[in-house]
Symmetry: D2
Subunit: 133 residues, 4 copies
Amino acid sequence: MSYAQQLLDTYPGNLNADAALLAATIDALSDCAQACAADTDADLSEQNLTEMVKCIRLCLDCTDICTATGGVISRMAEYDPSVARPLLEACVAICKSCGDECERHAHYEHCRVCEQACRRCERACRELLDALE
Amino acid sequence: MSYAQQLLDTYPGNLNADAALLAATIDALSDCAQACAADTDADLSEQNLTEMVKCIRLCLDCTDICTATGGVISRMAEYDPSVARPLLEACVAICKSCGDECERHAHYEHCRVCEQACRRCERACRELLDALE
Amino acid sequence: MSYAQQLLDTYPGNLNADAALLAATIDALSDCAQACAADTDADLSEQNLTEMVKCIRLCLDCTDICTATGGVISRMAEYDPSVARPLLEACVAICKSCGDECERHAHYEHCRVCEQACRRCERACRELLDALE
Amino acid sequence: MSYAQQLLDTYPGNLNADAALLAATIDALSDCAQACAADTDADLSEQNLTEMVKCIRLCLDCTDICTATGGVISRMAEYDPSVARPLLEACVAICKSCGDECERHAHYEHCRVCEQACRRCERACRELLDALE
């Protein structure tokens, strides 16, 4: 069981969503931020750098947005849909773009792994968005 | 002239918005992230902590979202409206909430200063959103 | 197997340390950053806020330092001991302080969980420091 | 006057260093994090990408470490030299490396600007380290 799940199970305040769903999203965001940071660096080690530039930029965006989203949805006691919803939508969009770009480079194992992290995170953010409606 | 302005003036790629407007937004985001981080800590030093909890949470959200937005709009070469627009909207919303909450504590000089940073950042993000339409 | 491990197993450049050790440290840093962010918020929901202030500040420091360290050690191709060593030392120190403070509040389940994340991260960073010597 | 200076002038707790020196360091860290993020993206737009890879990696490290250091020294009420000193030392080291690498590319205006931000941040962190002794 992840720390996020354990922490939400013992949260002293009110949550605006199912604890297991929130925890799964927090874990997916954290894993995706990390995978994209690592993939950025792996991309920079490839020979055909020019073809990797778009992937690098999308991975950097994805790390930044997943990190911020993970922070915000860890503070659900002040949950505000006017903030959380567009943030999750931005996260869905960048995970989709970054996952698509990584898929184009899936002959590189590191991009294949990063694609999986992006797809899982995109799904988790969509599910949380639906649950928050 | 800020580093952001100098860097955008010499940017080797294409920008999707006026360089001066982008630079002003990047500066406002960076200043707001910093002001909210400092205000979080100042809030934690006040006597009436219970009344400051909402302000602390909003400042933490605002720091996270402004930091991510600043990163993303610094990488305009891969500008994607499906990512940048909701992210800027989330940023406008949290700067508004955090500015409003700081205004409620404006008898504390640190909240008054933080409110100014949030208001300026909210305006800058709105202007960039309009310009990107 | 974590994304970090999968990504390092397929890293196209040179690593300056054992891939399994690096991956374990990256995972521990990411988990600790997340646990501390969640514990900050749980602390803010407790009644005896004044007693939690130190814990909140240390958790915020721990999140910031673990996030930066995770980023830096994910870019091992430019490994520079004059940067990585003091950064890992700062990380060991804050994980120790934050873990000790959380232990003092271990009657709160969220602090008990956060303590575990800090202790594991402290150990992982120490092991990596030893391996890099 | 920067927000950092205004916020420290009204800080309700105790500071472990001169407010003007702290504020100057916080500003330099924030500006350097931002300049390095922008320089990363400008580097990615250059033709001779292979020569820019080291610069990109160092800029990414510099952004991460400056961001974390800025957060930690904004929370001086829990100042702990065993954390702050190695963190500032890591920051001095990465600003030095990144500034040196940017100097090698100073024919690119964006690297010349980024070098200035790194040099100023390195100096500010050194001065704070001396003052904290």
